[in-house]
Amino acid sequence: MRHLSLFSLLAALLWIVTAVQADDPARDLDRPGPTPELPPQQDRGKSQLPANNPEGPLVIPHRTRGHQVDLRHNRCMDCHGDQAPEEIRATPLPSSHLRDRDGKKHEGMSGGRQDCRTCHVPDHRTGQEAWGGH
């Protein structure tokens, strides 16, 4: 009898785990999601793309070929920094990027954010369709 209840407990657990997993979008990684549509250009200062995951790093909707990112120069900041010209209309760095992991605010970008492409990856579908990149 004890064996039986242990067995059904395990079975129930297994069922719960699979049910939860079936709902997990991470399991569908191979299936392409909908391509975000780019609304007409809006004000600089607000993201122009819908985020798949509001908490996560946004995909890069343009090509990054040849963009130098190292200790000497960070090409991303030429457009996403506060020195960029109005016409570029790139979303400026969010304030989260100026804080370190202890929440302390820094003058410039915090050290852990320097190498943008550890978190942000180019999305070639949006890149191709919305921003004409390769």
Binding site: H62, G66, Q83, E87, R89, W131, G132
Partner: protein, 201 residues
């Protein structure tokens, strides 16, 4: 020996007796062609990439970097060589740049940039010289291959379109104002404007 030399020296200083003026001028003409040709061939040779990277300073740094860029490897297979971007086409400017380059040969002999560290230390200074030159000639070397007139802006990325439209409309800004580091790695750009001056409030 001395006498023999003296004899020939005199002979040389005498006005020609046996040769006609026509033959002489023809001779001079032919020699001229040979020298001129030789000079230009030598000039041509110094324009080849093989020559440019015959010193390791160039091969290990800028050439290695160029190889990762669109100007070395791209879908259309058209590529730019060192002299396309660094040597003016017009003859007087070309000679000017070559005279400048002879100073660079000294640099090579004295090892001014013979390690990666020394190269990096000097990079900003060297880059600034090229930016000044391209700024002064309205990016002539870029425009030998690229021309706004023949660019289909509608095929370009939206931000490229907008920037190019504005540059065309205002007449402000030349290619190198916005496209620094197109062929090599950039030095610390802290104090270098990345966009045309006057565009930023």
């Amino acid at each position: 020996m001395r006498e023999l030399l003296n004899h020939y020296w005199k002979l040389l200083r005498q006005p020609p007796v046996h040769l006609s003026l026509g033959l002489l001028s023809l001779g001079g003409f032919i020699m001229g062609i040979i020298f001129w040709g030789g000079f230009n061939t030598a000039m041509e040779y110094t324009n080849t990439e093989q020559f440019c990277i015959s010193c390791h300073e160039m091969e290990d740094n800028v050439m290695a970097e160029l190889q990762h860029t669109v100007h070395y490897n791209n879908r259309s297979g058209v590529r730019a060589t060192c002299s396309d971007c660094h040597v003016p086409h017009e003859w007087t400017n070309k000679i000017g740049r070559k005279m400048e380059a002879s100073k660079e040969v000294w640099g090579h002999l004295f090892g001014t940039i013979d390690t990666r560290e020394k190269f990096e230390d000097k990079r900003l200074e060297m880059a600034q010289r090229e930016w000044r030159r391209l700024k002064a000639n309205d990016s002539l070397e870029c425009r030998n291959c690229h021309a706004f007139e023949y660019m289909d802006l509608s095929e370009q990325a939206p931000m490229a379109q907008e920037m190019h439209h504005k540059a065309l409309d205002t007449g402000e800004g030349t290619c190198i104002d916005c496209h620094k580091g197109i062929a090599h790695e950039l030095p610390d750009m802290e104090d270098v404007p990345r966009w045309p001056e006057g565009w930023l409030e």
